[in-house]
Symmetry: C2
Subunit: 241 residues, 2 copies
């Protein structure tokens, strides 16, 4: 049985400020919890699961508790709770950095951040750096949209000025009036800089861009969704690798 205090504590982690205070977050659903057990067992604190959860490994240093469907419902943020929920410690940054990284300047939509992390994972990008006003990667909607990529891609919230001042790699910035993406020659390493959904890359960060890039337009849409634009750009980067 989960105590009322525990339920209250777990529910409190739906709020970013509470997560930050204790440096813990929640993951939900069979697939996500199984991926956490596989990829980040050392970060797990507690795993709550119902009897139909396929638990394939129990030898790690975290608490395991079999609970009822009703109990799962009492701690879940999902409309349809799905077999398991885990409390995890904030994820450490990876030490090995891939040749390409992504920097996000003020991305607000949880689905966009999650989708960007998922495609970073697909292409083997180790790090996504976010401006401090980018949506929190431990937000439940972000986590669901990553489909597990959060366990493999490091997300770091940083001061972009500090980051770019120390950075030596070429910075490719997605703008609406840049150079043709399809004729851009990418170096063997670099930073892909993507901006906010409505306003793009902040003016104060434009000075850090070495090559501005634009996806050629053949139709009428005013702009592309930031995750879509990122996908097309990464496609161009990785076709040369």
């Amino acid at each position: 049985m989960i105590s009322k205090n525990r339920i209250r504590f777990i529910k409190s982690l739906e709020q970013k400020k509470n997560r930050q205070q204790v440096q813990l977050f929640i993951i939900e659903g069979e697939k996500m919890v199984l991926e956490a057990i596989q990829w980040i067992p050392e970060q797990l604190v507690s795993v709550y699961y119902t009897s139909d959860f396929f638990l394939n490994s129990i030898d790690e240093g975290y608490d395991l508790e079999l609970i009822s469907e009703l109990e799962l419902k009492s701690i879940s943020t999902l409309k349809t709770p799905n077999k398991a929920l885990a409390v995890c410690k904030y994820l450490p940054s990876k030490s090995i950095v891939s040749p390409f990284s992504i920097v996000l300047d003020g991305v607000q939509d949880p689905g966009n951040l999650g989708t960007i992390l998922r495609m970073a994972d697909w292409f083997g990008i180790s790090h996504v750096y976010c401006s401090k006003d980018t949506v929190d990667c431990y937000n439940s909607k972000v986590l669901q949209a990553t489909m597990g990529a959060i366990f493999r891609v490091s997300v770091t919230y940083i001061d972009l000025d500090d980051f770019f001042t120390e950075n030596n790699k070429p910075v490719y910035g997605a703008l609406l009036n840049g150079n043709n993406l399809f004729t851009t020659q990418f170096e063997n390493e670099g930073i892909i800089l993507l901006g906010n959904e409505g306003s793009g890359i902040r003016e104060s960060n434009l000075k850090y861009i070495d090559q501005s890039i634009t996806i050629p337009k053949f139709g009428h849409a005013e702009s592309l969704n930031v995750a879509t634009a990122g996908a097309i750009i990464l496609g161009s980067v990785y076709r040369g690798i």
Copy 2:
């Protein structure tokens, strides 16, 4: 003043079956309504707007009604209603077909369909054909995600067997075990076939694929979001045009 009957009627259009019965749908928000006035004035039936709406054209054959913020709230599906709402007739299919089209086999997520329409619009794709179980393009979440692309890209719900039987263009199908996208030579016209979020392209439709394509993976994600995959594929198609 909007009558109670009218409010009830507008609210009824939140349901797909009611929309289909009267062949009408709702668009919301200043940007979307202004785009509708610009791109599809002949499809508009009524435009409801508050005093701060920037109405730049009033010479068309539709009803215009100035309403209060409170009235807008009573007919809106948005948490924060935004200056205008319009009732529109279902959009006719465009007669001119671009060299490339997209076919969707069972895409379920409104955000994905909207994002796909937005990028189709960006690349000048005139038609997106959907299997009958694909999410309804007049769903409010789809419409919002299109950012106006719905007014410029034709969406048609079809029997895919009939469609492919009559189709003469090469069909490029996105699969997890196909040929390398980055070395695929695209013809000057074709169909990009994308499948359901969880299960991909239905097995019964695999026989229609002339070239299977896969986005090379360098990392660990099991799959990509369908809109992300579509974006990367379209990027490859249009870089050769």
